[in-house]
Amino acid sequence: MLGTLIKKEILNNVFSFRFVVIFALLLVVVPVTIFILTNDYVKKVDEYSSRQNGIENYLKNYAHFNRIGPITTPSQPPIPFYSLVRGISSDVNMDKFDDDPLPVMFPLLDLVFIVGILLSLAALIFSYDAVCGEKEDGTLKLMMSNRLARSKIILGKIIGGTLTLLIPFTLSLGLGLFVILLNSRVGWEGTDWVTLALVLFGAVIYILLFLVIGVLISASHHSSSASIMTSLFVWVLLVLVVPNLSPYLAALISPAPSQIKMEREVSRLSDVERDNLGRKLEAERLAELVKKYPVLAERFSEAEAKARVEKDPAFREAYQARTREIQAAWDEANRIQGKKANDLQDEFRRNVGAQTRLSRDLSMISPLVDFTYLATDLTSTGTMNLGHFRRLSDDIWGPAYDQYVRGRIAALQKQNPAVDWWNTPVDVSDMPRFQYKEEALPARVKGTLWPFAILMIMNLIVFSAAYISFVKYDVR
């Protein structure tokens, strides 16, 4: 019976005008987007390899340990998934004078965007009149006059609607994937296909959710023209407003000082305030010391002191003690202020972390955001990958690099202590090079369980609401 209902829904939809329009749109937009993104990815790969060549050339000729730090700083290589999902990988580098502000004005179009906006809208277009439309046509009455459970009807509508929507989506995506397969420069591996399958699974749950939302709204209205208004209202809020507002709301609820405020404070702590503290500590310690070595009470210039140190062993002892005390005073000042600055930075990081978590949690009310997080984190283009990259570069590559530099310098100095090896070109062909590897798939999946779960739970809740609402629906 359910099969008949699903078949009826699919046939009904497939021959409808909206199906044709949506099909045509997706058939154009999806392959074109994937084609352009793939070309862009290939361009990125070329640029990345020419950048790496540039670095290697530089290292061959000018590598010297004093200043190669910024040259060898690891950077994220393009990954094959860029031809489908871009996430937050676009480089809006705000730290340089020559930046690229275009993505701020118009964000990139990718598969996540297409599913997130176009397909959710399409899902609502398919379902906004699922119940009330049939009521208006009178077919609902006819259907109910048969021995049919309402639960079966609603299930048939949802499953049928999802399947119909998947036809244009799968076909257009298939066409797009064909573009990727044809391009010999994009090498997808086995895990990439698994990732794609997971992303698509997420997409299906996401589309299903909007379909169910449409059915719920349709089952709570008696005219389809009112139903579409409510559907669009809900859609605008969930898809276009909540995601954009949530970081701003989070910033209001859990404020964090701006980067610059923290930096200013840190530089004040380790600059002016440290100098004041250092001078104070120095004066205190010297005052103590004068009691032990009264000679030090006299005023003398640096040159006089040097002359007296040569002649007078007692003065030398006193002067050395003085130097030691001054050093100790400044060390202490540095330690105290350094700790203060560290505490401040830690607090800043905690605050920003708290705000980021809150924004993330708030934004997850929106299904679009859940889908975005799961798609970007699965494909290593989201926030999770930022952390992963930081771990690779700071915790794994960084120490290895430091160790290499120290070992090399020590060996070279042993060879010839007279040379300033920090500022002399050396051969660094054996230096460890940074290797980027995507996080293992299981870890990525684990990181996206929450968005998956939230989407599922939302589906369940909305479905139950739709069911209840349909059971109570007056079909006349």
Partner: protein
């Protein structure tokens, strides 16, 4: 037999307005508009205040070679690139250090565009306008009202004009009220207090928004007059809307990138680092060979090389980037939504043109700081920046975008007229 009196335009307008006022659609539309506009005003006003407080921390003291702008109060409505423009540019002998000052560490901001007035109008108000227009002809045909209306001695022109005006008024009057109320409320804060010129720019911004909304209303009526059923009209319109607002502008920029070869920011900064460290290394080696400890000719020579090469790189980058901006603008203008964004952000002084104008000024400032240093003066001149005047903005593309929006308006209205005249009302 009653005498037939010609129906006045105003009668139709009034009929449309009353019909709207009583409809569920109107209720939803006004609820959405009011809710979103007020939330957006509040949130961005808070954001502005936060950035203003940060500016007080970083503003240059007299004599410091720092160029930093206060946040633009109009960024409450059109944030655009204001965040990039209010970074602090610190001039030193070897270039410009940028501190992404008023930036937060919260990465979630990077995921979705700012929900400012421009965004709300571009995305939500355009949709609302379509919803006002989509069933103007087809719904009345379905319900038979259209036939009845036509049986009176009223011309189709009048009906269409009345429909357009009635819906335009019922859409734009609440929108204007909310917007102006928001503006006045924000203006109450002495820390914001818009200047007369800002208020004039705001007026132009709202005017552009109205033109943009009218365009979508005309489009809605046009498609409605093409279709027999309101439901099909809606489906077509929603998809046209999605393509104009989301697909074209976002894909256009990417497409332009395929045609203009612009190095990524990363590539550029890596090259700059390489030049800079290479020259310093050679300087060190030469100084050691000559036993030179002072800041003699060797230093000068290498610094000149650094400056020369970096300037060349920057100039090359900026030329290419300008070409990319021009091309992407022209591609994106296929969509009125992009034209709307360009026009509004430029008018409020937060657009791409303003940003590059600021950069030119910062570069000029750098030259003057360096020549001051050359002359041995310790104090750097202070940096002053004047936003481009409205006249300049209009002559540098703003007028084109406005005219383009008006052109779309006329085009859609005319096509709607033709379609309606030929419409079979039975």
């Amino acid at each position: 037999m009653p005498r037939r009196t010609p129906v006045l335009l105003w009668t139709i307008v009034r009929k449309e307005i009353v019909a709207n006022l009583l409809s569920y659609k109107f209720f939803i539309a006004i609820l959405l508009t009011t809710l979103l506009l007020f939330t957006s005003f509040f949130v961005l006003y808070k954001d502005y205040k936060g950035r203003l407080a940060d500016y007080e921390l970083v503003r240059a003291k007299p004599g410091e070679p720092i160029a930093v702008l206060p946040p633009n109060p109009l960024s409450i409505f059109a944030k655009g690139l204001d965040e990039a423009m209010t970074r602090s540019f610190e001039i030193s002998r070897i270039g410009i250090d940028v501190f992404a000052g008023q930036k937060s560490g919260n990465i979630i901001f990077a995921f979705f565009p700012t929900p400012d007035f421009v965004y709300i109008v571009k995305v939500v108000l355009s949709l609302v306008a379509l919803l006002f227009g989509f069933d103007q002809v087809s719904r009345e045909k379905e319900s038979g009202v259209l036939r009845l209306m036509m049986s009176n001695s009223v011309s189709r022109t009048k009906i269409l004009a009345g429909k357009w005006l009635g819906n335009f008024l019922s859409l734009s009057v609440p929108f204007l009220l909310v917007t102006i109320l928001g503006f006045v409320l924000i203006n109450l804060d002495p820390l914001v207090r818009f200047s007369t010129s800002s208020a004039a720019r705001f007026f132009l911004l709202v005017l552009t928004a109205i033109i943009y909304i009218a365009l979508f209303l005309s489009l809605g009526i046009f498609v409605s007059a093409l279709t027999r059923r309101a439901a099909s009209s809606l489906v077509i319109l929603l998809l046209i809307w999605a393509v104009t607002v989301f697909v074209v502008p976002n894909l256009g920029t990417l497409l332009a990138r395929q045609m203009v070869d612009v190095p990524s920011v990363k590539a550029l900064s890596e090259k700059q680092d390489q030049v800079w460290t290479r020259e310093v290394l050679q300087m060190e080696i030469e100084r050691r060979a000559k036993n030179d400890r002072g800041t003699g000719d060797i230093v000068k020579k290498h610094f000149n090389v650094i400056n020369l090469e970096l300037n060349q790189m920057e100039e090359d980058y900026r030329n290419r980037f300008d070409r990319l901006v021009r091309l992407s603008k022209n591609i994106n203008r296929l969509s009125p939504a992009a034209s709307f964004v360009y026009a509004t952000t430029e008018l409020t002084g937060t657009g791409i043109g303003e940003e590059s104008h600021l950069k030119e000024n910062v570069l000029r400032y750098k030259d003057s700081v360096l020549s001051n240093l050359e002359r041995g003066e310790k104090q750097a001149p202070s940096f002053t920046y004047r936003y481009r005047s409205v006249g300049q903005v209009l002559s540098q593309g703003g007028l084109f975008d406005l005219a383009w929006l008006i052109f779309f308006n006329i085009l859609f209205f005319a096509m709607g007229y033709v379609a309606f005249v030929r419409y079979d009302v039975r």
